[in-house]
């Protein structure tokens, strides 16, 4: 059985090398080339695919927890969902969490993931006190904001190309409820959407679901959801039981018509301009995790997620151009996600910069990659970049224009001979 990424595209032959003990990993490193670490297989594209895949998930013990400070030391294969199951009932939550809890801590660092609070809390690396990294030589180094800082900046967001993260110490934040008080703001167009993001910027969490098939004066209409934890003392958290998509849907299920219908219903079910709800952690942060294997709705050919970010100054003009191209193409998924991000960090390949990010799914079909190439040109024109954790197809030229520190990253890879040991399909394509 070959390992796949979440997008089920591309598919390649590979051999999995799981490890539980560090000494087993030394052995794997000594005997194979073209290795790439793989967590829970939730990155969308080809960043964790290679001929030889190091499966980190079996390396999954909790090592230490400080009840006073909330500092948690774990092996890299621990899933965020495990952290939540253990610690939400004790009043702790992840400082930074992406839109799925089904990723490993190692993967969260390698993609330097971010979430609905990026505008005030930054990327995952902000909550990492330190991690231990196994280099190609088999040596283990401790990296933090103050120790081996070059390796730290290369590894956070480095897509597993610097070595294998063995364990990490992350800080959790105090919460006093399993509920979030959510406000939903319905907007009519992109201008209103931008204004709403600005107005609600002091809310800790925010994200917008945007209708990508809307055209003309409705372009950019969205439901903006903002919120913060309640303080009712109810920490009785039980993860929701899952629905499951048991098989790949046939290709015709997702057509322009069904997507339009879905978006109309989704947007239309909210009547009021501003409404308030109380929702639990799983509903607010991880809505799609409730449906096991939701990637199968895109059929066996798979899908890709296109996520880009534009600097704030060019966001409005750029998004208008990108959204109209998408809506004209009539491709594009149920829902696209729009969010205003905070300041960029110093990591070489971390995705976020201050500005607006758009993410949406496309099923793999004829004409798609031509469309994405067109969109890439617009992204470059407006000074933006694409997110490597989602990508399966971007060109080296487009990547390099978006990531000015790519060369620093390459130099560090060469310095430690990382390029001789760790490679993914993505790193090869991007010449990393």
């Amino acid at each position: 059985m070959n390992l796949t990424s979440w997008g089920n595209y591309p598919l390649i032959e590979n051999k999995a090398h799981p490890f539980t003990q560090v000494k087993d990993l030394e052995d794997i490193l000594a005997h194979h080339e073209d290795l790439i670490p793989y967590g829970n297989g939730r990155s969308y594209g080809d960043s964790a695919l290679s001929k030889h895949i190091i499966q980190v998930k079996p390396h999954n013990l909790f090592l230490d927890f400080n009840e006073t400070t909330g500092q948690l030391h774990v092996q890299a294969g621990i899933l965020l969902s495990e952290v939540l199951e253990v610690f939400v009932p004790r009043g702790w939550f992840l400082k930074i969490t992406p839109g799925t809890k089904l990723i490993t801590v190692g993967g969260a660092i390698a993609s330097d993931v971010h979430g609905k609070n990026h505008h005030n809390a930054g990327c995952f690396s902000e909550c990492v006190a330190f991690f231990n990294l196994m280099l190609p030589s088999g040596d283990i180094v401790t990296c933090s904001h103050t120790e081996n800082t070059e390796l730290f900046k290369a590894t956070c967001g480095g897509m597993g190309l610097t070595g294998v993260i063995l364990d990490a110490s992350i800080s959790l934040k105090r919460i006093n409820s399993r509920y979030i008080k959510q406000t939903t703001i319905k907007t009519k167009n992109l201008k209103e959407t931008f204004a709403a993001f600005e107005r609600y910027q002091s809310e800790p969490y925010s994200v917008a679901w945007i209708d990508c098939l809307a055209k003309g004066k409705g372009l950019g209409k969205c439901l903006l959801m903002v919120g913060d934890f309640q303080a009712d003392g109810d920490l009785n958290y039980h993860p929701k039981s899952n629905l499951n998509i048991p098989f790949n849907f046939p290709g015709f299920v997702l057509s322009k018509l069904t997507v339009k219908l879905f978006n109309w219903l989704y947007y239309g079910k909210v009547f009021k301009k501003i409404s308030q709800q109380q929702v639990d952690i799983d509903t607010f942060f991880y809505p799609l995790d409730a449906i096991g294997h939701w990637n199968r709705i895109y059929g066996k050919k798979g899908f890709t997620q296109y996520q880009i970010i534009l600097p704030k100054e060019t966001s409005y003009e750029g998004l208008e151009a990108i959204l109209s191209t998408i809506s004209k193409s009539a491709k594009g998924s149920f829902l696209a996600v729009l969010k205003l991000y905070g300041k960029a960090n110093n990591n070489y390949l971390s995705f976020p910069i201050e500005g607006y990010s758009l993410a949406l799914d496309f099923k793999i079909e004829k004409g798609l990659f031509e469309l994405l190439d067109q969109l890439d040109q617009r992204v470059i024109k407006y000074g933006g970049r694409i997110y490597l954790a989602k990508d399966a197809r971007v060109s080296q030229a487009v990547f390099e224009q978006g990531y000015p520190q790519a060369e620093t990253f390459r130099a560090l890879r060469r310095q430690y001979q990382m390029h001789e040991k760790f490679n993914s399909l993505q790193s090869t394509r991007l010449g990393l």
Binding site: F62, L63, D64
Partner: protein
């Protein structure tokens, strides 16, 4: 809080059982040889469950130490689960009695030595449970593993007698007969997935059977019927088979 003592705590089944009992609010003693290797596992369990998890050194073959071992436990356990098992090599055991001896002593003699001591204590306290992990291999001797199988057969007979003895004292004895389980012990064997249980499933079944005060548990359940058939094959036919 009440403790469960897990003997042979390094095995995959034992560790799955430890997780299960910790989740259900039992404190644990994890007993094994070179038990410090379990420190990291014990810490993980303690963080996840908030239960007390203590590692205690035990050599199951050193029967002379068993009395001291048991009575040195800071608090007597409410239950004991033995997951000690040594498959060994049938081929080697046929020609080298040292291997045979090790198989018998690990799977039977050592376990009996310890359970004798614990049974005394539980009988006097009129409470407790004993879970002994035997094997379907003990239900009928086959050429591929009859030395291991005979030791497990002896253990099954011992547990059956112990259950009979302790019934009047209100002490429960559960005999567990796993079929194939995907563990370190069976790594590399070509096992039918339909007949092979994951350690977690075995642990869940054991916990449930123990809480319900059952007597004998086959896991997977299908093995109960397979062994029923195997036990009833006439010897004249059975001796010709290669199963």
């Amino acid at each position: 809080m009440s403790y469960v003592l897990i003997i042979g705590a390094k095995s995959d089944i034992a560790q799955a059982i430890a997780k299960k009992y910790a989740e259900n609010n039992y404190d644990l003693y994890l007993a094994a040889r070179q038990v410090n290797e379990l420190n990291i596992f014990a810490k993980d369990l303690a963080i996840r469950s908030k239960q007390t998890v203590q590692c205690v050194e035990l050599d199951i073959l050193d029967t002379a130490s068993h009395h001291t071992f048991y009575h040195a436990l800071p608090e007597k356990p409410e239950g004991v689960i033995t997951a000690v098992g040594y498959l060994g090599s049938q081929d080697l055991a046929q020609t080298d009695f040292k291997e045979t001896h090790k198989i018998i002593d690990t799977n039977y003699t050592g376990v009996v030595s310890l359970l004798n001591i614990i049974a005394e204590d539980f009988e006097q306290r009129h409470s407790g449970f004993i879970v002994g992990i035997s094997s379907v291999a003990g239900d009928r001797g086959r050429k591929s593993n009859y030395i291991y199988g005979s030791a497990k057969a002896a253990l099954s007979a011992y547990l059956s007698g112990l259950r009979n003895r302790l019934y009047s004292s209100g002490v429960q004895v559960l005999t567990v007969k796993p079929g194939f389980v995907a563990t370190k012990m069976t790594a590399g064997m070509a096992l039918s997935p339909r007949l092979t249980a994951q350690p977690e499933a075995v642990a869940n079944a054991i916990y449930k059977a123990q809480q319900k005060k059952n007597n004998v548990l086959y896991t997977k359940g299908l093995w109960k019927w397979i062994m029923l058939i195997i036990k009833h094959i006439p010897e004249g036919l059975f001796k010709k088979l290669s199963i």
